[in-house]
Amino acid sequence: MQIPYNEELRPDTGLYNAKLGIWIFLASEIMLFGGLFSAYIMLRVGAPVWPPLGTAQLNIPMATFNTVVLITSSVTMVMAWASLKMNNFGKFKMYMGLTLLFSAMFLVVKYFEYSAKLSHGFTPAHDTFLAIYYTMTGLHVIHIIAGMIVNGYLWMPGSKMWKSNPERFTNRIEVAGLYWHFVDLVWIFLFPSLYLL
């Protein structure tokens, strides 16, 4: 049994199934982070001083570096998709590999950031600023890891599909890319909200 419009576009909507699916998923993700940002604003406007007195000073250079890393990974991701569109599987492999490398780099930096804070006793329980900082960035890290699993699969075992069904494989990369750019997008807002303002 074949589900229609898995790779070809449905004429009246102009979409294939997974494209609509991922956007609806991202819509729910927008609401998830919307809930958290709402919590952030409510804690912030409710606090007498923000950030609360005695809280940790977050490491801006490290976070700036991470922003650069994540944006770069987003570019390599979209380049991976463009390479497939240009029928260049070798370049796809390279760009996808770079995307994974940059995502891993992001996690390593984040690890050092977290451990530096935790070793000085700045745990989530310390104050509401650190609580929302750990929760939001932690949830973001979980999204990064989930994206890495998907991208890793599409990079190695999943890429066999390029031979059997190149069109569907390209669609998969596009869909994975949309998710990855969304993760990047969330960080673009997290960075100033938590570190700079």
Binding site: Y5, T13, A18, A27, A39, M42, P124
Partner: protein, 572 residues
């Protein structure tokens, strides 16, 4: 059999890890029926305590210390009754079972758009259910802070609350997967010629419902994560500074806001109410149109009303919070939106009533349940008006009146629609109609006793009896005048349980009944695709032998000049 699978599927891939939307629908249906029964049983135990406080509970008393529910245990049962009925019973039933089984069939699709996700959605749901049931066995028992889990109480409650939150994460994920799938299926896999204006109302209802789930659940998931952090990492998202528990200041950083939880919770939970009711309206609309042999009156207006209902349901949430000390501006805004949202509900209900006018009504069991839905939901809706207005809500808040109102919407409302749907689509699944005699016994006794349970709640609620008293109000001076109703309601609840026995007998009797010959694929003479374009049940994976092509609207009953009193959607 061009579109159907020819290779033999193994038992496991066919019946356990099935990717066929029909079988997943049945899995959802059976699991949620079990949970509905379980949630109802919890309530029947609680009702003993309310009717006869300080006496040993019969039958199940051996499970509890002293043979009675402790007040803590009573709270656990209450919280879990709500959670199980809503998140493990009704939503999986109306969206998981009915949506899964019927949406692809009614739009002429071979399956859901993402069969693997569909399977994952069921198994995530089951995992969530198992986690919830498991929480009864941890020290301190299951979650006991109400199904709403308000902090600060929920933040400092026993371990059961943590398990509840984990369970909710699973259930939310399952709902998200399921509803994404339904939206994509409806948008992408409609049969040729099945335009938006030709969709059966049931499909529209599922469409709107799925959007509500996709957009409203994530903020609760966010809130759940925050509460987990509060409980596990010691943060203070919902704990204000200087909170005193048991005479001592709680050792937390403070600075949080308990109201934040309420906002995020009700941002989900109000749309959730419409998740419970919209698919039920869809089921009832299908059955009423079929059994009055008339087109649904005002199809367009009820479609627009349901979309409007879905939209408005996101901006009424704070009417659950009138007594939190909100100011006039905000309360004015939410009272206004609440009054506005009653309009589309009334439009839908009126259209269904008008459909009855002049119809040749067939009073079979599904129709009886569908007909009972109308006034029952009407009572539920009308009694909601005083709760939507702050001055009356302040008096009625947290009393049995609220319980009565809500249950009229969901129990004789949605649950009756579920029964109507089961009786109506049972021949689609098995090829055999459920027994009419037993069905009518089931219906009439259910209708009588369910009113016996919930009607007196309005009386008690108006007298001011709080909904959270473990002894039913014996220790509460206010309740003295209306206390005698407790026994009446409890008796009704148990008899309501007894009234379900004919249904259970009927269910199994019909399944195991041997019938000769090929079953009628369209026993209700219906117009929609799931009846007219399929072979005799059980259907194979792939649903249709030839992809259907649609030529007309969903409700062409008793068209003048036609040879029969219905014209299938796929007839030219």
């Amino acid at each position: 059999m061009s579109s159907q699978d020819h290779h033999e599927e193994s038992f496991i891939s066919k019946y356990i890890f099935s990717q066929d939307h029909k079988w997943i629908g049945i899995q959802y249906g059976i699991t949620s029926l079990v949970f509905l029964l379980f949630g109802f049983t919890l309530m029947m135990v609680m009702r003993w305590q309310l009717a006869y406080p300080d006496t040993v509970i019969p039958f199940v008393g051996w499970m509890f210390e002293d043979g009675m529910l402790s007040p803590d245990m009573y709270n656990s049962f209450g919280a879990m009754h709500g959670t199980i009925m809503i998140f493990l019973g009704v939503v999986p039933m109306v969206v998981g079972a009915f949506g899964n089984y019927l949406v692809p069939l009614q739009i002429g699709a071979p399956d859901m758009a993402f069969p693997k996700l569909n399977m994952a959605s069921y198994w995530t749901y089951l995992a969530g259910g198992v986690i919830m049931v498991y929480s009864f066995f941890v020290p301190g028992g299951a979650a006991n802070s109400g199904w709403t889990s308000y902090p600060p109480l929920a933040d400092i409650a026993t371990t059961g609350q943590t398990i509840w939150l984990f369970g909710m994460v699973f259930l939310i994920t399952s709902s998200l997967l399921g509803s994404m799938n339904i939206i994509v299926t409806i948008v992408q896999l409609r049969a040729e010629g099945l335009t938006w204006g030709r969709l059966p109302f049931f499909v529209w209802a599922q469409f709107v419902t799925s959007f509500l789930l996709v957009l409203a659940f994530p903020p609760l998931e966010a809130a759940g994560v925050l509460q987990l952090m509060d409980r596990l990492a010691g943060t203070s998202f919902f704990l204000p500074s200087g909170l005193v528990v048991g005479g001592e200041i709680l050792n937390v950083s403070g600075g949080g806001s308990p109201l934040l939880w309420q906002h995020l919770f009700w941002f989900l939970a109000h749309p959730e109410v419409y998740v419970l009711i919209l698919p039920a309206m869809g089921v009832v609309a299908e059955i009423i149109a079929n059994n009055t042999r008339k087109p649904l009156w005002g199809y367009k207006s009820i479609v627009f009303a349901s979309v409007w209902l879905g939209f408005m349901s996101f901006i009424v949430w704070a009417h659950h919070m009138f007594i939190t000390g909100m100011g006039q501006g905000m309360s004015l805004f939410f009272q206004t939106t609440t009054m506005i949202i009653s309009i589309p509900s009334v439009i839908i209900l009126s259209a269904l009533f008008i459909t009855l006018w002049g119809g040749k009504i067939r009073f079979n069991t599904p129709m009886l349940f569908a007909l009972a839905f109308l006034p029952m939901f009407g009572i539920g809706g009308l009694t909601g008006l005083p709760l939507g207005l702050a001055p009356t809500d302040i008096h009625l808040h947290d009393t049995y009146y609220v319980i009565g109102h809500f249950h009229y919407v969901v129990a004789p409302g949605t649950i009756f629609a579920i029964f109507a749907g089961i009786y109506f689509w049972f021949p689609k699944i098995t090829g055999k109609k459920l027994n009419e005699g037993l069905g009518k016994i089931h219906f009439f006794f259910s209708l009588i006793f369910i009113n016996g349970v919930f009607m007196p709640m309005f009386i008690q609620g108006l007298a001011g009896v709080s909904r959270r008293l473990a002894d039913g109000g014996v220790s509460y001076a206010h309740a003295a005048g209306v206390l005698e109703w407790n026994e009446f309601m409890s008796m009704s609840a148990w008899l309501l349980g007894v009234a379900q026995i004919p249904f259970i007998i009927n269910f199994f009797m019909t399944i195991f009944k041997k019938v000769d010959g090929v079953a009628d694929p369209n026993p209700w003479q219906s117009t929609t695709i799931e009846w007219t374009d399929t072979t005799s049940p059980p259907l194979g994976h792939g649903n249709f032998e030839i992809a259907p092509v649609v030529h007309r609207g969903p409700y062409e009953y008793s068209v003048e000049g036609a040879s029969e009193d219905f014209i299938p959607q796929t007839k030219k």
